[in-house]
């Protein structure tokens, strides 16, 4: 059977499918957690009523003034309505790493060495960005 060259490659389809599922999950999560925050269902680190007083501050000053968490420290505070919201946002931001990891075995199987190397470096770059080691304006 002749391969239809206009069709997307196997790795492209897998990447797209994971992106699709993750995107809907992430969006649903941010909407649900935002409602929890707005409706005061969980206690907040800074309540929605008070936040307008502080959003004019530089993010670094905000963190410094309230000893707000930086890096992944927010994970310890997901029992707070405002930080619970970050789960959905982190999922959306982390999806690309997952997508790259999922196509790596296919690239390896195809012995597509340049793309295996590039994909591994990309995962490392994104993991570094996500690690919390690189941040600006913290404590």
């Amino acid at each position: 059977m002749v391969e239809d060259r206009t069709k997307a490659s196997g790795e492209q389809i897998i990447y797209a499918n994971i992106l699709n599922i993750g995107m809907y999950l992430g969006l649903a999560l941010i909407i649900v957690t935002f409602l929890i925050y707005m409706l005061d269902i969980l206690p907040s680190f800074i309540s929605p009523q008070d936040i307008p007083q502080y959003w004019t501050m530089k993010s670094g000053d905000f963190i410094h003034s309230f000893h707000a968490p930086t890096g992944w420290d927010w994970l310890a505070m997901i029992n707070k309505g405002d930080y619970l919201n970050l789960i959905g946002i982190a999922l959306l931001a982390g999806l690309t790493i997952l997508c790259y990891l999922s196509i790596l075995p296919i690239l390896m199987k195809k012995k597509d060495i340049p793309y295996v190397i590039i994909a591994i470096i990309e995962v490392l770059v994104l993991a570094l960005a996500a690690s919390g080691i690189l941040k600006s304006g913290g404590h």
Binding site: A8, S9, N85, I89, A129
Partner: protein
């Protein structure tokens, strides 16, 4: 239909302008420190800003689609210029807005083989690494410097948008060595012509160098970067326009991811700003796409460019302390 659409567009722009004027009057836009927050703040109830932001970004989402621009490039200068939020939080939200839009569009574009993973992967590595540096520089700079640079960048984008030509099928006489080694090429079905289009690229090294600059700017200003991705992919590297537009949109999901993590880890992501913006702009985009399917007056593109110019001038004047 054209008349009805123009009327709709005029109403949208008027609504947008009214919201911006109201925001300027009601907001305290001066950056505050920990000591000042007790006296400063907002004249509106806490929930009102979320509602205004949602309505504003909903309209913005419609206009962005009709004007052929990304939401992020309109979001940052307009929200940064007229809403009371510090520019750090606006850029953090802008990145998540651009990221969400790219994540939503990405799967469809990849499956239809319009966005090319083969083209995106090498470019994304350069752009996403640079975006991290851009985000770190951007968050370290004082607000007025960010506003001046943002204003200048937006005015530059307006010039690019107004003057850059596009080429549906650029002539690539000979693919360069790097693109051949990486196997960056493809074939897609061009429905409008009823035939398959084979494509290659050239000037890959020059393109990758430019993506360093694009990545830094995307991270620094939280803009997304479709305005720069498309001309580089299309005019410089020679990818067909459809492939360039689709790959650029998908590319943002990788470039903005790295910068978004820096903003998230630096505490510059406030859900109260991010969530209404993401939902508003996505719903607006859905409505925009439906309108686009019916008609697309050319004038809209120019009105959106005018809106962008206004936002750029506002950011510049705000940074220079002329229009606070």
């Amino acid at each position: 239909m054209g008349k009805r659409l123009s009327k709709f567009f005029f109403i949208s722009l008027t609504l947008l302008a009214l919201i911006l004027i109201a925001c300027t009057v009601l907001a305290t836009t001066e950056p505050t420190t920990g000591q000042q927050v007790a006296e400063k703040g907002s004249k509106l109830p806490w929930w009102a800003w979320s509602v205004i932001l949602f309505v504003f970004t909903f309209i913005l989402g419609i206009l962005a689609v009709l004007g052929g621009v990304g939401g992020g490039v309109l979001f940052v200068p307009l929200v940064g210029g007229f809403f009371p939020f510090h520019i750090d939080f606006v850029r953090g939200a802008g990145l998540i807005v651009a990221l969400s839009g790219a994540l939503a569009a990405g799967p469809g574009l990849l499956k239809r083989n319009l966005a090319s993973l083969r083209l995106a992967i090498p470019v994304a590595l350069i752009a996403s690494s640079s975006a991290i540096i851009g985000a770190m520089i951007g968050l370290a700079l004082p607000a007025h410097i960010v506003n001046i640079l943002l204003g200048a960048t937006i005015i530059g984008i307006v010039i690019i948008m107004a003057s850059a030509k596009k080429s549906d099928f650029p002539n690539v006489p000979k693919p360069d060595k790097l693109s051949q080694t990486l196997g960056i090429m493809g074939i897609y079905r061009e429905v409008s012509l009823g035939k398959d289009i084979e494509w290659n690229i050239h000037r890959t090294v020059s393109g990758l160098v430019l993506f360093i600059v694009i990545g830094v700017m995307a991270g620094m200003f939280g803009l997304g970067a479709g305005w720069a991705n498309v001309p580089v992919l299309n005019l410089l590297m020679g990818a067909p326009l459809k492939i360039s537009v689709a790959t650029s949109k998908f590319l943002l999901s990788i470039t903005d991811t790295s910068a978004a993590w820096i903003y998230l880890n630096s505490g510059a992501v406030l859900p109260m700003i991010v969530v209404p913006s993401v939902v508003g702009i996505m719903l607006g985009s859905i409505v925009g796409v439906r309108i686009l399917a019916v008609a697309k007056p050319k004038a809209i593109k120019w009105m959106v460019i005018g809106l962008l110019l206004f936002a750029g001038v506002r950011a510049l004047l705000k940074g220079l302390g002329i229009w606070r």
